[in-house]
């Protein structure tokens, strides 16, 4: 019998996780289509290539022979059109490509908000392999790039700032919020990161918006104008990092139902039969818990891949992400979060904040005021165990129980100084 052919658009973490799991569970024919790179790479690690910590090859989690050995066919092409009725893709070469089951895992693209000059030479996001190549060309050193301006105070913006700083390129970092990532982080943590950004000699401008990007006669970036003050900042590079949104332009000609992303139900099915969507580009019709309908996170992409593989291999399974978790690193400060910590405690919730005297480590816990049930933790500069917090969240442990047992959750290397007693003392006050 001919094996079912599963075609995956995109070879990022979602598509590759799916492909790997389908291969583990079945003998189906699998093709991954991507125009970005021949082999899967870790998008989250792009920064390390520019910083000289790693080379491109190090970003690839699997050796190049892995794909052939596991019969995962790779096709370097860009999909132009999906004909869901005839189960056929049109590729940029004009080739028609058939599928039995189609999985859209095409990820995101950087947001642009219609700023004048946003498409000029010298303006980029930091998302794709191509962005990295552009950055290397436009900002190889501080002779070519005398100043860079970054717009958008999120995870990618701060990464870009860190990257440019390693090449001694002066960076001005425009953040719309009152503090760095303040739309996600409570003000205490946001301020802690503000200080750390400045410690790295980044010119951090808070509550500051971009007005326009000014170009020279050949269409190259030469300055930016700041809203409100009208200040003109000379620069050779503008990093636009105000978040990402689903990369669905190529789907507009198809019959697949779209909103901000590709609309899917809990089974990750789109409106077209035998077409699924996972990862950054998928939008849940019904948001799951407190999660936004579009989640552009490495981990959720991976989890959707794991789930859909089960479904495609005859074990239908709903996408049920467990407790929220995430992590990041801001220059030298590591951040992990388990459960929900919002910029402000929700109605009927309270919080507990502890900060070390060095101003580089802190924890922030949210809990229900009456029942004292633990809702979530942000931890900066102290590593914590995922498993332990996952367990506490499932068990609906109280904040008191959590604080008393924080030692169990510590994941710092051996011999590191421990602060649980100090935290407990602060909590009991």
């Amino acid at each position: 019998m001919k094996q079912e052919h599963i075609v995956i658009i995109g070879n990022g973490i979602s598509g590759v996780t799916l492909a790997r799991h389908v291969r583990k569970l079945s003998d189906k024919r699998i093709t991954l289509i991507s125009s970005e790179s021949e082999h899967f790479f870790s998008r989250t690690a792009l920064m390390y290539v520019y910083m000289g910590h790693m080379k491109w090859n190090h970003l690839k989690p699997y050796e190049d022979h892995f794909w052939g050995k596991n019969r995962l066919e790779l096709k370097q092409a860009h999909v132009e059109h999906i004909d869901a009725e005839h189960k056929q893709l049109t590729l940029d070469s004009g080739e028609l490509f058939s599928y039995d089951k189609l999985v859209i895992a095409c990820g995101s693209k950087p947001n642009k908000f219609g700023w004048p000059g946003q498409d000029a030479e010298g303006v980029l996001g930091l998302y794709s392999k191509q962005d990295l190549e552009q950055l290397e060309a436009w900002a190889p050193n501080n002779q070519v790039c005398k100043r860079a301006v970054i717009v958008g105070g999120g995870l990618i913006g701060i990464e870009l700032a860190e990257m440019l700083a390693t090449r001694n390129i002066p960076v001005t970092f425009l953040v719309r919020e009152a503090h760095f990532w303040n739309n996600v982080l409570p003000v205490e943590e946001a301020k802690l990161i503000d200080r750390h950004i400045r410690e790295h000699h980044i010119d951090l401008r808070l509550s500051t918006n971009l007005d326009e990007i000014i170009t020279d006669e050949i269409g190259k970036v030469k300055a930016v104008k700041i809203q409100d003050t009208g200040e003109i900042l000379d620069c050779n590079l503008v990093g636009l990092t105000p978040g990402v949104s689903p990369n669905i332009e190529f789907l507009k000609s198809s019959t697949i139902e779209l909103n901000r992303g590709v609309l899917v139900n809990r089974m990750l099915e789109t409106s077209a039969s035998d077409v699924y969507a996972i990862g950054d580009c998928a939008e849940q019709r019904e948001p799951i818990g407190k999660r936004p309908p579009v989640e552009a996170v490495w981990y959720t992409g991976r989890m959707m891949g794991e789930t859909l593989a089960q479904t495609l291999c005859g074990n239908p399974m709903e996408y049920k992400p467990g407790h929220w978790f995430n992590s990041a690193k801001f220059f030298d400060i590591e951040y992990q979060t388990y459960g929900w910590v919002f910029p402000q405690p929700e109605e009927g919730h309270s919080d507990f904040y502890w900060e070390h005297e060095d101003g580089k480590k802190c924890i922030h816990i949210h809990f229900e005021s009456d029942s004292r049930i633990f809702k979530g933790i942000n931890t900066f500069g102290i590593r914590m165990r995922h498993e332990v917090f996952d367990h506490w969240l499932t068990q609906k442990a109280t904040v008191d129980e959590v604080i008393r047992n924080l030692k169990k959750a510590n994941f710092d290397p051996e011999f590191f100084e421990r602060y649980e007693n100090e935290m407990l003392e602060a909590f009991n006050k």
Binding site: I13, S42, T44, A45, Y48, V49, Y50, M51, G52, H53, M54, K55, W56, N57, H58, L59, P61, E63, L132, E133, E136, P140, N141, Q143, T166, R167, H196, E199, H200, W298, Y299, R302, M303, E306, T307, Q310, N315, M317, K320, P321, G322, H323, F325, S327, A328, F331, D332, E334, Q336, R383, M384, R385, H386, E387, D390, F411, P413, E414, F415, F416
Partner: protein, 530 residues
């Protein structure tokens, strides 16, 4: 310049050293230059002054360089530009350094007279330059080994300070580095030198670094040393017994409790040099599966070789009589011990060995027993077919000199800092065998937090593809892991932690990573039905 896709081959990256870094390098090189000049008997007098000057210049150069590199910067990982610098990215300077180091080792091992060693009369050249220090410590003139030992210790101390500064935010790295600096300075350098002062006409101990354990110290049970130990009375016998207990009792206990890191990255001198002077080259180790395969075959072959060689050497002098243990009894004990270990592994740990490891273990075991058997049946006159002396000198040349020295250190800038430890060290192989099968040590992965970035794998000096485990949520239990902890340090998401815990559940392969709320029991049951 490398040929693969390196986006930064533009050469525009900030690879240039700062002015201070250049000056400090020049200062350190000036110290080396004095030593080099002394080889040509330019007549540096007084020697004490010039020796002090050269050693101080080297040390000051390293420390100044360290300060210029890290002082004033926030604490954190300092790997910026590692792949842009010629020296650390297999560029021109890496090959120059590789040539200089291999050249030095070749002279050291095979042409010590070029360094001025003179066993008949007074030393000349570099060795003579070091005479004052040697006389101050042991009372004897220097040898090429004393020169080497001094420079080796200087490298571990100097670059140890650099490493301490680089990782000043990390207590694990700091303690570990203090430890290797302490063992090098005390146990490997000062104590054996001072012990030599105790020697006189009727009391003589061999040069003994207590923490240089057989089989790393492959000559520890050679006749001249054993004779020395025995003739030195209870102190000597004590040391001899300590040497035997070290490998048979002490290291198994410590490795069970802490993994082989207690030795390889806390105590051992080879590890000490790799972790300090070799640290800038740690990312050059080959992570491919082919390299891993080569490693397994090579390192275990060296173990077999050293066991055969030592058995043959010890047997041949015991057989001549005059010792309380006879050659035959010794051979039977060796065979029994190997049988015991082999039987234990095959009975209790069989399922933890990969197929090729099983075949290799059986093959090696049968080989050794067959050779011993051949001897007892009188088919072969020589134990193990060759003269013990032939085996000994071959091992000393191929493994002791070429592998551990010329290649092991000389190729730091090309193949990374642990080439010897990974591919050649029989001690590391024995400890690793135990670490894999019988130890509480593992590197724990933190739930679903891995983002597959690859920092851990890139900076693993032993060439372990750490990420391959971490991204599956599987703990890392690998025989080659020396527990340096750098993977955990460079991880940007706090995913890895070196731990000693109960041996049960040490390896935990997961179907679905933590964070995805699929009904795991359901999944497991369904999989069983299939």
């Amino acid at each position: 310049m490398s040929v693969d896709v390196n986006m930064s081959v533009t050469g525009n990256a900030p690879e240039a050293l700062s002015v201070q870094q250049k000056l400090s390098s020049a200062l350190g090189l000036a110290g080396i230059f004095i030593m080099t000049l002394s080889a040509f008997d330019v007549g540096f007098q007084p020697k004490t002054l010039w020796l002090t000057l050269s050693l101080v210049l080297v040390a000051a150069g390293i420390i100044w360089y360290t300060k210029a590199s890290y002082a004033g910067l926030p604490e954190g990982i300092k790997n910026d530009g590692v792949y842009f610098k010629s020296l650390t990215n297999r560029g021109f300077w890496a090959y120059i350094l590789g040539l200089v180091l291999t050249g030095f080792y070749i002279v050291l091992y095979f042409y010590p007279s070029w360094m001025g060693l003179n066993s008949e009369g007074d030393n000349t050249g570099i060795v003579a330059l070091f005479d004052p220090l040697s006389k101050a410590l042991s009372g004897n003139p220097a040898s090429q080994w004393f020169v080497y030992g001094t420079l080796y210790t200087l490298a571990i101390l100097g670059f140890g300070i650099k490493f301490l500064w680089k990782y000043r935010h990390n207590s694990y790295q700091r303690l570990r580095t203090f430890s290797v600096m302490f063992f090098q300075l005390g146990f490997a350098f000062i104590i054996p030198e001072v012990m030599a002062r105790l020697n006189n006409d009727d009391f003589s101990l061999p040069y003994y670094n207590l923490v240089n354990i057989w089989p790393l110290n492959y000559y520890n049970f050679e006749q001249y040393r054993v004779d020395d130990f025995i003739s030195a009375g209870s102190v000597g016998i004590g040391l001899l017994i300590f040497g035997v207990l070290s490998i048979l009792v002490i290291t198994p206990i410590l490795t069970y409790k802490y993994g082989k890191r207690w030795y390889c990255s806390w105590v051992c001198g080879c590890g000490g040099l790799a972790e300090t002077a070799g640290d800038p080259f740690r990312h050059l180790s080959d992570k491919s599966q082919n390299a891993w395969k080569l490693e397994r075959w090579l390192v275990h072959s060296v173990v077999v070789f050293v066991v055969i060689m030592t058995t043959a050497v010890v047997y041949s002098y015991l057989n001549n009589g005059g010792y309380w243990l006879s050659g035959g009894a010794f051979l039977v004990s060796v065979a029994s011990l190997l049988t015991l270990v082999f039987a234990w592994v095959m009975i209790y740990k069989r399922e933890q060995l990969q197929k090729d490891a099983k075949y290799a273990a059986i093959g090696f075991f049968v080989l050794i027993l067959a050779l011993i058997g051949l001897h007892f049946t009188g088919i072969s006159g020589n134990i193990f077919l060759f003269e013990a002396e032939t085996l000994r000198s071959t091992y000393g040349f191929a493994v002791g000199a070429i592998f551990s020295g010329v290649v092991g250190v000389g190729f730091y800038p090309i193949f990374g800092n642990r080439v010897w430890c990974r591919f050649g060290c029989p001690m590391a192989a024995i400890l690793g065998f135990q670490q894999r099968l019988f130890s509480k040590f593992r590197i724990t992965t933190n739930g679903g937090q891995c983002i597959s970035c690859g920092n851990c794998s890139t900076y693993c000096e032993m060439g372990i593809d750490v990420r391959a485990y971490a991204q599956k949520g599987e703990n890392i239990v690998r025989s080659s892991c020396v527990g340096c902890g750098i993977c955990a340090s460079v991880c940007p998401r706090g995913v890895l932690k070196l731990e000693n815990d109960t041996p049960a559940g040490r390896i935990n392969s997961k179907e679905v990573l933590l964070g995805n709320d699929v009904d795991l029991m359901d999944l497991v049951n369904q999989n069983q039905k299939k």
